[in-house]
Amino acid sequence: MFHFAGASCNNCDIEILDCLTPRYDVERFGMLLVGSVRHADVLLVTGSINKKCRTRLLEVYNQAPKPVVVVAVGACGCTGGIFAEGNTFAGPADKVIPVDLYIPGCPPKPEAMLAGIVKYINK
């Protein structure tokens, strides 16, 4: 999985890192954080998407080898959250790229992320 942080307040990003810790250990399900989007099967999008990072998100999505699963993490990633009426806001992630999985919460608990991912795997 590759982690794309939009204009995030970093809280979701920290909770994502929690998934890698001994307590939650997402490697149980065979998932690792990778450095290059070319190696990724999952694209995590956190934070509200504003006019600046919209083009960057599109570019990262186009660079990922398909099929790629896009996961919007957190209230801002799913809907825009408290930034939804902001001046520079350019739509939540699913207006820019197709999103497969929404994990709401501000920030979502690591348990919620794992539950969402396991549900998606078993789908």
Binding site: P22, D25, E27, R28, S36, H39, Q63
Partner: protein, 309 residues
Amino acid sequence: MLRDIFYFLIFPGLLFAFAGGGFLSWFDRKVTARLQFRVGPPLLQPFYDCIKLFGKETIIPADSAQGLFFLSPVFAVAGAVLSCVLILLPAFGMTSGFAGDIIVVFYLLMIPSLSYIIGAIASGNPLAGLGASREMKLIIGYELSLLLVVAAVIMKAGHSLSLHEIIAIQQQQGAFIWSLSGILLFIVAMMCVQAKLAFVPFDIADAETEIAGGIFIEYSGTILAMVKIAKSVMLLALPSFVAVLLLGGLYFYGIHIFWSILKILGVVLLITLVRNTNPRLTTGQSMRFFFIWMNLIAVVAIVMTYIGW
């Protein structure tokens, strides 16, 4: 001819080496996870990863040298599998048919690293270029140390250049590691293996946190799967090489099967422990480490071998 193709593709070549290497890379990941008090991946995870990668889109960057970019992982797999075959054939009691095979294995073991460099430069990505230059420096560092180890082992084996004879001599006299020089050589060999596998103190070429995957940054889909296969085959080939050179060789009959597997697992366990307890060295530090310390230890070991310790 047909038999050679069988050796190369099925046993102990591509299929067997990939199965063994995949198991070893699972072992490495599992031990890493246990060391960090995590649960770790399921047994078949490396194989799932490879099968999944074969089904994914393969992106070839527009500004890359496309043929080279695509072919270099194939060369890497070929080199890794060939070296694995030549190392494992004597272990199964079959002579590989010529006298100087230790030299050939030594050069074949270098082919994967060289083809990663070529592929990285061909990809046209600046971070990959940076990774390639680091990998090149690392090769310059460890290759001399490994050559000194091989030279010392050849001296110990009474100037025999054949892996089969080296194993046979160790069978008569006991493994080479049971001497003072043998222990020193084992230390140097382990460090060289660590660098060849690009595991943590020496993973400057594909440092994920600094240069985002480095030499492998542009690989995706099928060719990334080839890279993974080459890496896992090397994870079998290099510990076997160390076991053949210093730990008394590998035999695959009777109770010896158990001991041989234990030797390989032990070497991989050591590599994993070193990898999990060390931070990444910089390029200069790792070159200094090999040029000064490892070469010094290897030369001391050669002198001790000459005296007969």
